[in-house]
Symmetry: C2
Subunit: 187 residues, 2 copies
């Protein structure tokens, strides 16, 4: 309360229940319930993290997407414990992010390799966003470790936040979150 100038009709227009996100003033749309009034689990970020948010999974996906496809290669490149890798891969296969396929090199016995599924491949933008942030904030004095390029034209690749009206929102996008139908109130 103590709000001067309150127009307070419980909503701005047809109850969008908007909240702030990356705001500057820290003020929600007046009258709208705050973000914290909705379940923390009703969130695509939370659900995605439940799948890939442990210490190794994203590194496994990074390596698999970079052509490191075999169990022992992953163990030796990542330094992950074998049992942990085994469990992670099983979970990724279960979730449909990775496919385990058999192949035979001719004269050798059958082997397995791991590849990203389509859904797994769609995680690449997340990896790119992390790479970009790390490049800006955690690069050593040697320069960038890795430069991602467009496979077709060779130009450097980056992640942009844009809106459907065509604006480019920059590195620290100022957003307003609209609570959608998939959110539920707490308590």
């Amino acid at each position: 309360m103590t709000s001067t100038n309150q127009q307070d009709r419980t909503s701005t227009a047809n109850d969008t229940r908007a909240s702030v996100f990356g705001d500057r003033a820290g003020r929600a749309v007046p009258g709208a319930p705050p973000y914290s009034a909705f379940e923390s689990e009703d969130c695509s970020i939370a659900r995605t993290l439940a799948l890939i948010g442990d210490r190794w999974t994203l590194l496994v996906l990074r390596d698999v997407s970079n052509g490191v496809r075999r169990f022992d290669d992953l163990v030796s490149h990542l330094g992950v414990a074998r049992n942990v890798l085994s469990r992670r891969l099983a979970a990724l296969i279960e979730a449909g992010l990775v496919a385990r396929t058999a192949y035979r090199v001719e004269g050798t016995r059958e082997r397995h390799e791991y590849r990203l599924s389509h859904a797994g491949r769609e995680l690449v933008p997340i990896l790119l966003a992390m790479m970009s942030w790390g490049d800006r904030h955690l690069a050593g004095q040697d320069g960038l470790p890795v430069i991602p390029r467009h496979a077709d034209c060779g130009a450097q690749v980056r992640v942009l936040v844009t809106c459907e009206a065509g604006h480019e929102l920059g590195d620290r996008p100022r957003l307003r979150l609209e609570i959608g139908p998939g959110s539920h109130r707490r308590e």
Copy 2:
């Protein structure tokens, strides 16, 4: 070996040491050392994950960026244990992603709140990329939990992968990784 047709001059042109990333054929540029020949830690993804890659940190950042700024509010909204939150916040402050500031509401005693620093705000694209992936692959039948909009124009926001030549790379970008000066060979 057993490679037919090897042109094998240890590099394509001036030693770009390129590797594949999100490829389709699984073949590295001929002659270039594979991705796995370089240290896994020389990677902005790995460094970023070392900072924010645990079970709670990204959710804390999500909540803080959404205006949930106080310790007890975070505990109750996230369901995180108090000691864990305490340690996470300390680490985030230490890393410069979050600032802890005192404020006083008038007549009450001094309180603290957590806000994202500029560097912390720059993590928002990572959160958006995760949200977008989760929206596509893990949405319930109720619809999207949350819709991010441009604070200025209200249009829906999305994350795009583009290259500097102006191409749009789509949801499953096909990349080629160039090993940069910040990478070091293993062994």
